[in-house]
Each structure stands twice: as structure tokens, then as C-alpha cells.
């Protein structure tokens, strides 16, 4: 069975025996996954393609609910409640648990409107408040200096790395408690990647972060905890420095030493 390390910090989330089955599949894509997500830390999920790491990430904000027929079993405990419950308010859940995607997803509108989007959804109409919070979010996402003179410009005119930081600004503007990153740098150049990684490490002061990455070095650089997944199962969750140096499971060792993947 899986080796799960102790998490000394407070827990942001507790995943309990999570099974997930896609509408078109007979077999579950996630098999009885149990793991804690530590508060104000970065938890990385690694594993070969198709191991279910993105599927797990997308269960946490219930992205799978956008497509009919997908099925969850088990529990994800957040703030004392099971968010897989049918009665869970998904709009509210997604305000508290934000997501950054693989490809930058700048909306076809101005930079200002992009960042203000989530705030406006929450009914904030006061222009000064909107401006202040947009500035704060852009500053926190380390992009304010680059865009402050062109807030009214179309966001699609920004470079890929800038767009990704804009998306991060948009996600943190609504002040979520948890941020989910789904391979956020796989479409970016090395310099932009470095910028995003630095940002992730800074952001954990305010939010708890789960990041899916196909890049083991990235997991080693940014995360406090790393989970290794294989064929829909969580094989090992450990403190990052321990998992990469002295993995408890043979499979983990084989993966991080490049024997398969």
C-alpha cells in the first residue's frame, strides 16, 4: 500500500478514499486515493502521463462536473465538509479553490477586465475598490510593472509567460484559500518558467498550493510535499527532500531515477 508521510502543518484539505470514474470509462481513473494537503505549503503531484495526477487535481474544484456522467466516490474534506457532496455549492467552492491551467487562458478582454472578472462576479462594482484589488493582484503576481501602463489593452497581446502570470493574478484577486496549478509552465519558455516557479514559492504564504507537473526538477524546486502517482494510484506522499533522496517505495525510486516514465 501507499506510503503517506505525516503532515505537521494544519491541513488545507483531506482526501479520503477518493475514486473517480470518467463517464466513458469502465475502470476508475483514480483508485482509493487518500492524502492530506498541507496548509500554506506547496504539494506537487508527479507521475508518468495518464497516471491520473490532473484528474485528481480537477476533482478538488470539481471541474469534472462540467461534463455529464463523471462519478466520484469517497470524500474530500475541506473546512469540515465533504465537497464531493451533491449539495455542495460549486460556484462558492470554485471561488475558494482557484485553478491555473496548462495553457494561459486570458479572456478576450482587456488586462484590467481579466483580473477584475472574478471580483465582478462576486458583485464588487465600486471602481476604486476594483482598481485597488486589481493592482494588488497584479503586484502579487509580479506583473504589475510590466502592464500598469496598458491596463486597457487586450490581454491577448501579452506574451505567454505574461498571460500565465495574468491568469495567476486573476485567480488570486478573489483571494482563494487553495490554488490548483495544472502543469502551469509546460507551454512556457525557461525564463517564464523560472518566474512562475518563484511566484509559486512566494504565494504559499497566503494560499495552499497543489501543483501538477511532469517535470520532476520543478517539483523538487518548488514543493514542500510531493506525491507520486502511478496508474491511478497514489504510491507515495513524502516531504519533497525525503521523497527525492530516500524514497520509501521501490516504484517511486525507479521513477525518479528514470527507469520508466
Amino acid at each position: 500500500m501507499a506510503t503517506i508521510c505525516n503532515v505537521s502543518e494544519e491541513k488545507a484539505l483531506e482526501i479520503k478514499k477518493l475514486q473517480f470514474t470518467y463517464a466513458s470509462a469502465d475502470e476508475p481513473s483514480l483508485k482509493e486515493i487518500s492524502m492530506p494537503i498541507a496548509k500554506n505549503s506547496v504539494t506537487a503531484l508527479i507521475g508518468p502521463s495518464g497516471c491520473g495526477k490532473s484528474t485528481l487535481l480537477r476533482s478538488i474544484n470539481r471541474m469534472h462536473d462540467l461534463y455529464p456522467g463523471n462519478k466520484y466516490e469517497g470524500e474530500i474534506i475541506y473546512n469540515g465538509r465533504n465537497i464531493l457532496d451533491a449539495k455542495e455549492d460549486l460556484i462558492n467552492l470554485r471561488i475558494n479553490i482557484g485553478m491555473i491551467f496548462q495553457k494561459p487562458t486570458a479572456f478576450p478582454m482587456s488586462i484590467m477586465d481579466n483580473v477584475a472578472y472574478g471580483l465582478k462576479l462576486q458583485g464588487i462594482k465600486n471602481k476604486t475598490e476594483l482598481k485597488d484589488r486589481v493592482e494588488k493582484a497584479l503586484t502579487d503576481a509580479a506583473i504589475w510593472k510590466e502592464v500598469k501602463d496598458r491596463l486597457k489593452h487586450d490581454a491577448n497581446g501579452l506574451s505567454g509567460g505574461q498571460q500565465q502570470r495574468l491568469c495567476i493574478a486573476r485567480a488570486i484577486a478573489v483571494e482563494p484559500e487553495i490554488l490548483l496549478f495544472d502543469e502551469p509552465t509546460s507551454a512556457l519558455d525557461p525564463i517564464s518558467t523560472q518566474g512562475i516557479e518563484e511566484l509559486v514559492t512566494e504565494l504559499k504564504e497566503k494560499v495552499s498550493i497543489v501543483i501538477v507537473t511532469h517535470n520532476m526538477q520543478q517539483a523538487a524546486r518548488v514543493s514542500d510535499y510531493t506525491g507520486f502517482m502511478y496508474l491511478g494510484e497514489l504510491i507515495e506522499l513524502g516531504k519533497t527532500e525525503e521523497l527525492f533522496v530516500t524514497p520509501a517505495e521501490k516504484l517511486t525510486e525507479e521513477y525518479i531515477t528514470g527507469k520508466f516514465g
Binding site: L66, R94, F101, P108, L121, K152, C167, A171
Partner: protein
């Protein structure tokens, strides 16, 4: 001949053939435009906009009734057809998706798009003109709306489909409800495509004659009563162009010219709107 020489040769042939084909297409296009403009400009004067139709030989004859009628019929058909088409297309792309109902609607709409417009005309004739006992502008409006609907529906469906799924997911991930995702993100992303669909639809029905011949029919005098027959540029053009009188034929050319300019300016307007939106 070596393999390289052969490739270069084939390459040249393909380029020459495609250039020639493009040239043939352009030749006929410019020929049509030349004939249209040379005859149209000659026929056009202020009287056309000031006077209604008159018997042949009258000095004071014009196309006022046809211009007004055209604007009313096409205008109302657009007002009804565009929102219907966009909403139906939205249903297909965002709600129905690949369901049986959605696929059936897509198939039927494709059939309707290729149905001859005269068939639509005779359908409206049977369901509206015959029971009412007379031609009416309303019947023409209904016929044009039916022709416009599948064009706008399908382009909206296709264009919304091109908006990346991740963009929708990103909006949902911020806690947006579905209708806001559609209106604020998906529509914006597909704006240019939807506008093109609307312009195609309006341009298509603005040039229709057959379905109006036996629905809104024609009127030589000004009328704004939708319950009565109403003149349109296309039907008037047809009547005048096939008449033996030279001054009527001149009016026919004027109608053709005005109609073409109307459709051309619709296209230019659409592009301008898109350009200014992009600039912001």
C-alpha cells in the same frame, strides 16, 4: 529529368493552374461589377429616392417604395432571425452539444440551408398567404426569417465551438455561473465569427427574390402596412428588368446597383466594427 527538376516542374504547374483559376474567378467578378456599375451609375439620380413607381414614360418615377419596403422586410426579418439564430446556435454548442436532439437539429438545419428558397416561399404561401387571402409583407418577413435562421444558427454553433474549452473552464474555475461564462467569455471569443454569420445571413436574404414573389409580392406605391403587399428591391428589379420599356429597365439597373452597394457596405461596416474592437 532528375527527381528535383521534376518536383520543381510539378510545383510550377500547380502554381500556374491555381493562379489561372483565381484569375478566371476574378475576371468574371470584375466583369459583373463593371457592367453593374457602368449601368447602375448612369441610371441613378435623386429622383430614384424621391418618387414611387410610375407607368412607363413618366418623368417622375423612382424606387422609393422598393427601398423602403426592402428595408422594412429585411430589417424585421433580421430583428427576428438574428436573436433566434444566435440563441439556437448557443443551445447547440453550449447545452445540447452532442446529444441526439442537438445532432437532429444540426442535420435539419443543414438541409434547410441547402433547400431552394422558392420552396420556402411556397411553404409560406401555403401557411400564410392562402389563409389570409392576400399577399402581405409579414409573409415575406417570415419567408426571409426562415431562410436566414439556419445560416446564423450553424455559424453561431461552429464559431462557439472554436472557442477553446480551457477558456470556459477558466471562467468556471473563477466561480462563474454558466450563463455568464457564455455571455461574457464565449460570446466575446466568438464575436468576429458570429458577426460574420449575421452579415452572411442578412446579405443572403437581402438578395432573395423567389420567396418574396409569392409572399410579399409587390406594390408600385409606398406602403408601410405590414398586412398588405409590399415592394422590395429584388422583386421590383425582376419586374422592371423583364419589362420591354427602357426607362423601367434603367430603374432595374438602379435597383441592382443599390442592392449591391447595400450588401457591400454591410460587409465593410462589419469589418470596421471588428477592426475598432480589436484596436482597443
Amino acid at each position: 529529368m532528375t527527381a528535383t527538376q521534376k518536383r520543381v516542374f510539378v510545383n510550377r504547374i500547380v502554381m500556374a493552374l491555381s493562379t489561372l483559376s483565381a484569375g478566371i474567378g476574378l475576371f468574371f467578378l470584375f466583369w459583373i461589377l463593371y457592367i453593374l456599375v457602368s449601368n447602375g451609375v448612369e441610371a441613378i439620380n435623386w429622383d430614384i429616392f424621391l418618387f414611387e413607381g410610375a407607368p412607363p414614360g413618366y418623368e417622375e418615377s423612382g424606387l422609393k417604395q422598393a427601398l423602403v419596403g426592402q428595408l422594412i422586410i429585411v430589417g424585421i426579418a433580421t430583428l427576428v432571425g438574428v436573436p433566434l439564430g444566435i440563441l439556437a446556435g448557443t443551445y447547440l454548442s453550449e447545452y445540447g452539444q452532442k446529444s441526439k436532439l442537438a445532432e437532429t437539429i444540426r442535420d435539419i438545419s443543414d438541409i434547410m440551408m441547402s433547400a431552394p428558397s422558392i420552396v420556402v416561399g411556397s411553404f409560406v404561401y401555403a401557411i400564410m398567404v392562402v389563409p389570409m387571402g392576400h399577399f402581405s409583407a409579414w409573409a415575406g418577413i417570415v419567408a426571409l426569417t426562415i431562410i436566414m435562421l439556419p445560416i446564423i444558427l450553424r455559424t453561431t454553433d461552429d464559431m462557439l465551438h472554436l472557442v477553446p474549452t480551457t477558456l470556459r473552464e477558466a471562467a468556471f474555475a473563477l466561480g462563474a455561473p454558466k450563463y455568464k461564462v457564455i455571455i461574457q467569455v464565449v460570446y466575446r471569443g466568438a464575436k468576429a465569427g458570429i458577426l460574420t454569420g449575421i452579415l452572411l445571413g442578412v446579405a443572403r436574404v437581402a438578395g432573395e427574390t423567389a420567396p418574396l414573389l409569392f409572399t410579399s409580392f409587390n406594390d408600385n406605391f409606398m406602403s408601410t402596412d405590414l398586412m398588405e403587399p409590399m415592394a422590395s428591391l429584388t422583386v421590383t428589379m425582376y419586374n422592371y428588368a423583364t419589362s420591354p420599356y427602357e426607362d423601367w429597365q434603367r430603374l432595374g439597373w438602379a435597383a441592382a446597383f443599390i442592392l449591391s452597394m447595400f450588401i457591400l457596405s454591410l460587409n465593410i461596416l462589419g469589418r470596421l466594427v471588428l477592426l475598432t474592437k480589436k484596436g482597443k
